[in-house]
Subunit: 288 residues, 6 copies
């Protein structure tokens, strides 16, 4: 993404680098909402305004959302807080994910809206902790966390999957990401998307999603294939082989827009532009 373009959509670009600025925004938004809506103030104080840091707030919120009668909120809170507090990589990814939702999704009215209400965001942050546990060989705990995320948010990401920064899982219900999948930076993935495997043999068997990719709702991408940087996968597509960078694959089975030999090239970072449908005119010969 050209930095210039991004600057247009956010007033204080440098501040974005700082978790502090985002946390300050979140508290200000929550304070404003609490004043305007007393019925929600208790919720906003318990989840945001009573905390002194983003990681405290997020750990509390995830602990209370993901707990069950056999996995208590205090245990999960502790686990999340410890991971977020000690891992600046996770924290900067969290902030990048907040920015991704805020600036890519026109329905996202504020950072606090994303922090509190976006199951894709919450599932992704919980996954980041599960992934850390996985890499620390605390696999049973990582898998238990995956299961809770799948139960509560209907988002099923294997804890071994590697996920970059600035990710937007929009709506998120039904997303499935397999064990050896890799997702680059600044990727946007809509709901019902599957990054799946191809059989019962283990090993590297899931898709690798390049930076800046946009994957439309209900797309199914199967096997150890590459979706090139900045590629775009149309909604409902079924993709079983590599997609070159900055091209668009659509349909079931998926075809490249513009043809296999000379596929049309589009903007660099559809994962940020979120343009799902401008390729319709080219696709028009086989549409309605």
């Amino acid at each position: 993404m050209p930095a210039g373009e991004y600057r247009q959509s956010s007033p204080e670009p440098d501040s974005f680098e700082e978790e502090g600025w985002v946390w300050g925004q979140i508290k200000a938004e929550a304070r404003c909402d609490a004043e305007g809506e007393p019925a929600l103030a208790s919720y906003l104080y318990s989840t945001i305004l009573s905390h002194s840091s983003l990681e405290g707030s997020l750990s509390f919120h995830l602990g209370n959302k993901l707990c069950s009668s056999t996995l208590l909120s205090t245990l999960l809170y502790d686990l999340f807080l410890n991971s977020f507090s000690t891992d600046t990589n996770i924290r900067s990814a969290t902030v990048a994910d907040l920015r991704a939702a805020r600036y890519r999704d026109p329905a996202c009215v504020s950072f606090s809206h994303c922090l509190l209400n976006y199951k894709g965001f919450l599932a992704c942050q919980a996954h980041r902790v599960a992934h850390k546990l996985w890499t620390q060989s605390r696999r049973p705990l990582a898998l238990a966390l995956q299961s809770r995320i799948s139960d509560v948010f209907a988002v099923d990401i294997h804890p071994a999957a590697k996920i970059g920064k600035g990710i937007l899982f929009d709506h998120a219900t039904g997303v499935v990401v397999g064990e050896t999948a890799v997702i680059g930076n600044n990727v946007s993935i809509l709901h019902h998307v599957t990054l799946g495997g191809t059989g019962k043999v283990g090993g590297d068997r899931h898709p690798k999603i390049g930076d800046g990719v946009l994957i439309g709702a209900g797309a199914t991408i199967l096997g150890n294939i590459k979706i090139g940087e900045g590629a775009k996968i149309g909604a409902g597509s079924v993709v079983l082989i590599d997609v070159p960078p900055r091209t668009t694959a659509v349909g079931n089975p998926a075809r490249l827009v513009g043809g296999k030999e000379q596929p049309t090239k589009h903007e660099d970072v559809p994962g940020e532009s979120m343009d799902h449908t401008s390729f319709i005119s080219e696709w028009s010969d086989y549409i309605i």
Copy 2:
């Protein structure tokens, strides 16, 4: 919908107009079930038989289903009860939705079955309250409610979306309805259906679904397009441009059955007839 046709599918048409009649049916059904199944009686008394009105019962049930450790059931109960009690439009829509499930879904054995067990029905009624809050500029609360509905029912409807009466969200898991979407009356929408947007620019960007439309499972409809009255969208279709009234669009990308120029016209209200598959013979040239 022609009243005549509707009459055929329901034995006591005039009574349906009255919330009281439906509530009476629900209590009678629940009483019968409680007598036959003591293990369920406690559930039936707490959710239905201890209440003196449909809105009381529904508010109790939604409050207990959508509550969390940070949004208490008493708060939600109050919110729902207040909305249902003071808004006859919502109440009549609720009754129409109960009728829709009861008479369109052959698996729906009773009104109480729908009231208690249909997540699509429950998500829709909770949305009606969230929408009311949105129009009253109580947006943070409306968004919090949307988030709870999405967590609990895996149904994600933006509180700004406008939804008519007599709606059946069948099975409902994975339904996504965007901010500027509009759904007419007597529409039936299966699970995994998306009424989505087309990018990161705000404004009017979601589908408009006409009266009597039937949308099959897994269909993805994107952009500010019109699905004409009585149109039928086949399961798994990806629809990116307008669909004329009373025509059928199928496939990915979607095509009109009968062809673009002379699409076949079918029955008036597929949203009520629920005929998903009778167009197979025409579609057969490009099937198995």
Copy 3:
């Protein structure tokens, strides 16, 4: 399924026949995990290690997962325990399902992993109890259970649906199985799969899935049609008519790989081989 083939995929075939062996494995796995991960030990003791039988453990786990404020865990625990204890058919199906997940899904690291964390497995076992209740004419209770399973696991199986043994519902989110659907033995079904009906008329209206079938993610199969033994349905396919045994149907609308007249025949039990994508080379003429 030829016994020979199965033997290759599992080291101790005879032991599999015995629930006791599997339960012994589960306890050993849980004990090992509890020792290695104190933070998870409480969870493992409450769900597995404090129980003296698989049915006790499973009843406890399902009771705590599916309970709500109006359907208490003790009531559900009792219901599950009674059903599992008195029905050896269900118990042997449960064990076969555990084996199915363990040996077909490379991400399944242990039996206990499946027992605790696989929502598809848990939903299926709860369905087996709901189905038993349905056949005993305890329908309101069966429907209430279906509703809880749909809320908690986002898996919606009508209690009247008949499901064989050795079933893998992988990932499982969004699966919908209709009232008159029948699923044979050793079937594998990925997430977002629909076995749906075709209208508002009751009667036999849902698919019949033969033994050993593999159904890919997001496939939609509608109507009272037969998917022959050992057939394979590609991800995202929309299938509206019969699929012959041991053939592969792909696409929307689905076509047979190799053509309608001479469809290519593949391995006998794709539901066990889990080969989702080897047909790509044949499908390649209409892909990217």
Copy 4:
């Protein structure tokens, strides 16, 4: 109680008459506390600041405190709200009780402190509702409420007992009040106090406590006897026969201070002066 005396102990006597003034104070106190203590703000918003009336706040608080897994908070909330909303007698008694705690107990720092934290106050208000139910012949519900109050607050008041206004149950743990007991206005009763019966025969068998009485900690008063207006019962006393107005009974068995024939008369309303110990000098001949 002479109005004049009361005026001395409270700065704005006329305002006290109005529930509105007290509710305004409570909200102001809570707002101030919420600002000073973010960790408590969520609690204060949910219990006080999100409500528009004292009865709403109290109903919410009691519903959440007294609920159990088999008596849901929404049911109790409804029950309390309905009683408080429709019974101005109860409401004025509640306000008088708040004043009693605020002006008699030096440890009571604010009205909101009493409303939120005083189990004696909360138990008494819940009793007022249980008593109302009792008089409406809704006895099983009244008794269930008594049981919850006894479990949660360790205060056991039979729902038939009649209790006046301006009552302070200080500390309250262990208070027992029998079925035919009557407690007048402006009475103060410390913890562990028993107003008990005398055998297994029914009928009128419990004490009658006059206006303005003060009963010290651990006092046991048994049988259908009269404790005259303004009498004082020393801590730990066991009282089995009538105590004349404005006298002090102390000891086990209780004796009148000053002697049976010419008992010393003291201030008019010890229930308000809360003077537990000034009679020591007179009692001194049989003390340490």
Copy 5:
């Protein structure tokens, strides 16, 4: 207890011997209450009417009352059900305790009232199970149960204490019974009663309470002393040495009514007559 006397106080003596009769009464009472009070019906169905036996109902009720976030209701339910089902001694004691409350306490309107609402009854039955665990050398579990009983009911009975049949713990708050205490049959004990020890040396150090004893509210009985059969201990008494059979001890320190040498003898079974106060006339020389 002479059978004749007992017959007078209960209309159908022979039936009392049968648990079945009592359970039948309980169900009939609950059914009647559920019909008359819909708001309570859910509670009555879940606790009584959905169960097929007294032990099922009691196990459910105790499991739900005594559970905590770290001791789940399902675990406790299992524990109670197993103990009650296999131990007819406990079951007959439970029935005798129900009869004790029903026929001795004039405020006890029905068996179901006692079963559901009497914390003394519930604490005693839970103790019976804790005691069984203690004798089976499952001491940590027995002590955990004691702790839960003390938290929930404010009744603290050491699991080693031996308690007979036909016990009424009336009101029960604050009762403390030490490790080596023994309580005979047909004993009635009011609230705040302590059967305590005398120091930090182990061994047999708590009171032995004979059959038919009545102990008034707040009485403190300390040390390895004998309270003879049919003795009566006045409310608030402090008893440090043996009390002969059928005599009354009152006061702090306790004295025998009628004098040490020739104490007045009273009725045989005050634990059943519940006469707390008829000795007043004799005691009158040192009262008020």
Copy 6:
């Protein structure tokens, strides 16, 4: 307390000084109990064995015991953990209190038994945190905590009260300690004990309890009086004036054993010897 005497009562005196040793004991005890009792293992892992320090374990246990639907366990856990972690005074007092229960109460079989099950111990530790909050001027939070302790443990200690180290609140139900009360070191206080005030005037109005005092069950001590070091207050006593060091006060009203002029002197630290009753022989002239 002379160190020499203490050494006699505990086998490894030097180790007691170290929190680490006690924590090691607790873990060893819990491990042993978990192995012997699988039904309790989940409880023991969640409360003790999953934690790496005593303060973590205690914070978790208190957070889960004292939480309510409006004061979440995660908030309380955080609050407790922060206080215990940063205040070595509280931590050493906690360890001294564990030793007090373990070596003074013959029914206390292990440190873990006290940590998990003794409501007096738990209430006292929670009070220590409430007191710290009080001294930091976080009074509303301190008072909310007091209220929760009173609800859950039936122990009502004003957060301003000052409590020393090595305190045993045995059984603890019904203990009330007023705002200006002071309790020295190595004090043992039985249940139902009141350290109360004397009226409605604020200021210093509660008892001051010297080091090593033993206060028997149900004793009521009122007013700003001194209970001298090593004094003993008999069960059920009502004490309104000073008690000299190492003397025994008994009765209601309390008298000094041996007489006011020449009271009998006893052992130095009855709070540790726990001798409740050896003074009976001297008291015998006014007993039974």
